[in-house]
Symmetry: C2
């Protein structure tokens, strides 16, 4: 049975990420013993968003273009209105998202981050949730949208907003420890 | 032939609107002699966004809930990453958008504002453009997405970004003056 202490997570983000949606998974997964790298477009620190205005700044561990999907067990995508809107037109970021989708490795996306999965056409036929404002975009991308704190289907974990963070992180750990992450193509 | 001086425009917006996309159409259309009302969720001033950070504040003329579609000839929707994401989950705003769609009165949407048309399912089968980041959302909503500074199809005017504002405003005036606005159902 895989252990969370051996797991390696890649977080992709840029300015305008909803700060709790990056910091909580990063900190909780590191506390559980996992390796967590934060990749940003320039490999430099990025500025978070706290509900309705700019928030805290976080450090980057590497540049998105230098991140190797083979080095990680799961991709974690924080939301925010600005961050995924910028990343979905960033070719380096979309290359990473598509590599995870194609390899069948799990992806966890919260709030507005499912836009990156819409961009990669990774939600077709899957059950998923998202922030309420992008429900129509997620449905139009072929997903079966449900209003739940966390959903895991077809290798993809989704949650709605910062209030769901506890369930989101718990599902990330459960998926790693159950070894379900490798069963994605069967799901 | 209708004259722009007799036209009445309603602009819907909230915090985080891309400032030039509200202020340029508002000012140019007023300069041309038209009546332009800016409606906001609380009927109070709202804070704009200038490319990558907060920008200028603009005054409101009325509350969105108090706006009557029958009083206007065209609905104008500015973009910004935050503004349309907030308005698409604002029932009063979506009631206005749907009323314009149903009545066949023209709607002009720039940048990220076509999200409001996606929300109203108003783009199906129509040719339209948008900011590049929401191209996939617009296509998934059934539109034929094209990369042009301005498009007018099925009563809907769309443009890509602030660089297209001149063409966007010119098309708004052209649609009003040609009387095409009334021919929407035939288009």
């Amino acid at each position: 049975m895989p252990n969370i202490r051996d797991a390696r997570f890649l977080i992709l983000a840029t300015n305008g990420f909803e700060q709790s949606e990056l910091m909580t998974p990063r900190d909780e997964l590191r506390k559980a013993g996992a390796k967590v790298d934060v990749a940003t477009p320039d490999g430099k620190k990025i500025r978070g968003w706290k509900m309705t205005d700019w928030g805290e700044t976080v450090d980057a561990d590497l540049k998105i273009a230098d991140a190797k999907p083979a080095d990680y067990d799961m991709l974690v995508l924080p939301g925010g209105q600005i961050n995924p809107d910028l990343l979905r037109v960033n070719p380096d970021a979309m290359k990473i998202v598509r590599a995870f989708v194609e390899s069948g490795k799990p992806i966890a996306a919260i709030c507005h981050a499912p836009w990156l999965l819409v961009e990669a056409d990774a939600l077709r036929g899957k059950t998923a949730t998202s922030y309420k404002s992008i429900k129509t975009d997620v449905k139009n991308a072929g997903a079966n949208w449900v209003d739940q704190e966390v959903v895991f289907d077809g290798g993809i974990i989704t949650s709605r907003n910062p209030d769901d963070l506890k369930a989101f992180v718990a599902k990330i750990i459960e998926v790693i420890e159950s070894g379900k992450s490798a069963q994605r193509r069967v799901a």
